[in-house]
Subunit: 128 residues, 2 copies
DNA sequence: CAGTATCCAGTCTGATACTG
DNA sequence: CAGTATCAGACTGGATACTG
């Protein structure tokens, strides 16, 4: 194996490591509801039910799982108030808010190019 | 419902539509091997076996599925040469190459902030 | 070389029902 | 209000074997 082969392998394998930065991020925001929650909280803190109402199709269980995952990642913060009835607010952390920046870049690309992607998909459906 | 509520709903629901641009992109590149393939092809066209060899852990079936999906999206192109033994090359399309730009933004964010994410995850593991 | 064909275990997601 | 518990079906990624 030449030296440049070794370098190639190191670069190629990086994205495969489970803790590869890009994969960590992409896999998280690629999940079903993650991006929705992050974008929804961009307008400010929301309570569980308010978040759920903005979707209308997600179950409590799945929304909870999504929120727990994002909280574990430090992207959102959960604040429970000791009241009755209980009140819980979710907000973006500074870390979560900083993610909105590159996310905006992806959104921009998506909005200009996804029509091409969808058109391409349909052409392939016809052939399949 | 006030007018601003209606606008909120329209914005919130957009990311939920199956053809929402951001979701289309994020879900595709969030898949297990997609990002790897896109980044690997940034260095130039590769044959199936070369692509597979750079990973070493993916099966032919799964790599094939990934390539088919990316091809259907118009992000990569498959070129088969009528030779024996068969030769097939995969390359990024201009569309696929253009995706590398916003992807670089996400990578940059990931590389600077993922340590925080992983640290956060570990703190939550201790508590769980 | 570049795949295809089968089969399988684990995961993801959701429906439904219940609770401090 | 803000969840948890349980169950079930669909989907994913992978192991293994085979082929034009």
């Amino acid at each position: 194996m030449t030296q440049s082969d070794a370098i190639d392998d190191a670069v190629a394998n990086d994205v495969l490591r489970p803790d590869c930065p890009s994969r960590v991020v992409m896999q998280r925001i690629g999940e079903r509801w993650s991006m929705f929650v992050i974008l929804a909280l961009d307008d400010g803190p929301l309570r569980f039910t308010a978040l759920k109402a903005r979707v209308g199709v997600v179950t409590s269980k799945v929304l909870t799982e999504t929120l727990r995952a994002l909280e574990a990642d430090g992207l959102i913060a959960r604040q429970a108030y000791a009241e009755s009835p209980p009140r819980v607010e979710y907000r973006l952390t500074p870390l979560g808010a900083s993610l909105l920046v590159p996310l905006a870049g992806m959104r921009a690309w998506a909005e200009t190019h996804v029509p091409e992607v969808l058109a391409s998909r349909e052409r392939h459906l016809v052939r399949a």
